[in-house]
Amino acid sequence: MRRSRAQRAALISAGLSLVLALAACSDPSQDDDTGTSDEGTSDGGAAEDTALNAYLYQAPNSNWSPMAPAHGPDVIVMNLIYDSLLGVNPDYQLYPRLATGLPEVSEDGLTITYTLQEGLTWSDGEPFTAEDVVFTYNMVANPATGSPSAGKFADVEGAAEVTAGTADTVSGFTAPDEHTFQITLTKPNLGIVGLTGNIFIIPQHVLADVPVDEMDTTDFFTKSPNVGLGPYVFEEYQTDQYVHLVKNPNFREGEVDIDEIYLRPVTSDVATAQLGTGEMDLVQISPADLSTVEALDGIEVASAPGAGFIRTSVNELKPYLKDVRLRQAMLYAIDRQQLIDEALGGHAQPVNASFMKDALPDDLETYEYNPDKARELLAEMNWDPNQVIQLTWIPGQRDRDTAATVIEAQLNEVGIKLELNQVQPGELTDMMNAQSYDMTLYGGGNYATEPFAVYPIDSCNTHYPNGANLSFWCNEEFDRLVQEANQTVDEAARYDLYRQAAVIENAEVPMIWLYNPDTIWAHTDRIQGFEPMGDQTNPFWNVQEWSLDG
């Protein structure tokens, strides 16, 4: 069939417009490393823009607020756009960021004093003062803002009044001068520095007029948190595609070297594949992919021990899950060491209590794999082999999915009927609110910096939703020991109390500890200065020392 000239012209223009449409759809940042490439003559003398593409392990919740419930991918963004008084380094030690040093704690343990660096400005040029810090801490300590962290400030003078709604601000947060921030306590609380020193500071001059109860939904936090103290400034979030950040000209250590960062939420499998094609520069990889990634050209791998652990909670509100022997039997029935050795290639440590480092005694029960012992315990408690237990989790992370499969097989082996139940994040939140799950598999946390961080996941007062105790376990002796430790100024005595608490926890098994995984990062060798961080929500902790070769 012969086409007329007009027909052919129409076809060509249709084809052209298709190409143009595709070009318009394509992601501007993927063009090349020059980022803003539409400026034309890139071969001029001007220095080229550098853009880094990094992996976000889940999609953001689009709430970049220190008062929002922590969501890892959002925390990664906040670590880049905000700054805090203190930070946590890869050894899980606190170090000063906005403060000049670690805070001074008075001898009676009741006053904590931070000295702030002088001459700092926000990314919009406004000066940063201690008033910003007072404003931020007041917001985070006020449950009316939606903050789930208000409980951490229970011992601060005046916090109870704010919680009760009889006061607007916490009298215990003060700024004696422009560069000093002071916390006054009603009783000693040694853990408060570790638990609250790294709160992201938010700009008072931007947020002062926002009503307190609208703070969690204000546009600044949900759409455009574009004023901060961090090394980068928020540019935009293209839903489910990328978060775009550009460098902050007013960063306290001077401008960073890498001009732009794109954080992309994709699955770990896709991210790993994109690392190979050069579309991704920094990815957290699964141990199973380690040897493949190591074999890639121009890719470097680095790992660091994690500060949290993968576990399953056991909902003790269910009568059939109450008996401690059931939970002990579960630990004996799961071959956790082999899970670490084989499925995780040895890139994890065993866990038998939630405490870490110096707070962990040496002589804990290790619950070595022993299915016969598990069967014995179950027989002793007359476990009903027809009782079905559901294990609920959000699938998508390889090691957790494998762990769930292994738990299912090995618990069934000893006569515990376990069913697997994969859900979406929203569904799990509903189940948590209804307290309807039997067991949930999850991970995370940082228990290495401050042992008091174990309190919220284990105490009688912090049952979900008042805290993170998802097993609804309660042991008053344990609570008393941890509380006392947190009020003990003497370090040796404090850690001794924590170790006593750990022994109770180890014997009572409030949760099924699985393993503490290493965090493995893979990045292109174009990135210089990368130092691996075990906390998967803060790979950019020292981004100011990075550079990216063209």
């Binding site: 699964s286 699938p395 390889r398 697997l420």
Partner: protein
């Protein structure tokens, strides 16, 4: 997912007439000639591709039924001492990320995939036939209501309907069957309605009606038998679509739930770069199983169509 629906517009009436002829002749007095059914069977047997497909399907069916005898391991037995092992004498197709035997899982997965495929297609065809026949026979607003509903279902992309249903109702095999059937029934409904409309105006139906036959009787004795040939073809092709839908949903984590194996979720386990590059035993067998089964079902479906309706052969 490709669109496997047969073309529905013009051939309806022609097909219906042939089908009616088949039925009328089959029900009539036997002469020395071969019956149309026997002729259809003969035409099918001559179609080598279709016969090949049928043989393969029978083979898969045997494997599925006798899975426990064929597999030399349990599909659920986790062995952390032997994860991601390449094929060997003990594990014929190697092991997966938690040390389970891939061959055993493949064989057991055939059960799930066939069960879901056949059950969903059957449900879709039964519902579709009923809706189509009722719409065609009753006409009027009932027809309009039922057919616009069917059109609405057809205007959604199948897979989206299924994903939404699976997401809303939570993943499980019965839900999976219902969700897939919900996306497939309009095809059968439209076809059967077309046949019904054609048959409704024929003399023998008028005769039956005058003789006092109820609508239910007409439905059972005349309309459904008249459409049977076409229904079988649509049903067969729906099986292929349903097996694919099951695989897609399980791959996305919305279908068959672990630890149960299906070909789709076996593929899901194999998305990682490492597996794709260096562990073909984890993804090649389920992938091939899906492809070969769906292809066979489609061959059989095409063969059946050609056999039932020789005028359509060579088309499509």
């Amino acid at each position: 997912m490709s669109d496997l629906r047969p073309s529905l517009d013009t051939p309806d009436v022609a097909a219906a007439e042939v089908a009616v002829a088949v039925d009328a002749a089959g029900g009539g007095p036997r002469s020395g000639r071969r019956s149309p059914r026997a002729m259809a069977a003969r035409r099918f047997r001559r179609n080598r591709v279709a016969v090949g497909g049928a043989i393969f399907l029978v083979l898969i069916l045997v494997v599925a039924v006798f899975a426990p005898l064929i597999a030399n391991h349990s599909p659920y037995a986790v062995d952390l001492g032997a994860i991601r092992q390449p094929p060997s004498g003990d594990h014929w197709l190697g092991t997966d990320a938690s040390g389970r035997d891939v061959f055993a899982r493949l064989v057991y997965a055939a059960r799930v995939s066939l069960l879901v495929g056949v059950a969903a297609a059957l449900l879709a065809v039964v519902v579709g036939t009923l809706v189509g026949a009722v719409a065609g026979l009753f006409g009027g607003w009932i027809d309009t209501l039922l057919m616009r509903t069917a059109d609405m279902m057809l205007s959604f992309p199948n897979i989206v309907v299924v994903i939404v249903l699976a997401g809303l109702l939570g993943p499980s095999i019965p839900i999976l069957v219902i969700a897939i059937a919900a996306a497939e029934w309009p095809t059968a409904a439209r076809l059967v309605r077309g046949v019904t409309l054609a048959v409704r105006e024929r003399e023998y139906l008028h005769a039956a009606r005058v003789a006092g036959a109820s609508r239910g009787w007409l439905l059972r004795k005349h309309i459904v038998p008249a459409a049977m040939g076409q229904i079988v073809v649509v049903g067969t092709i729906s099986v292929a679509g349903a097996i694919l839908s099951e695989a897609v949903l399980s791959f996305l984590g919305l279908g068959v739930q672990p630890p149960q194996a299906s070909w789709g979720n076996m593929l899901n386990d194999a998305q990682s770069l490492t597996v794709i590059q260096s562990m073909p035993w984890l993804w090649l067998p389920p992938g091939l199983a899906i492809a070969a089964t769906v292809l066979s079902v489609n061959f059989v479906g095409d063969g059946l169509r050609d056999a039932v309706d020789p005028r359509q052969s060579g088309r499509s």
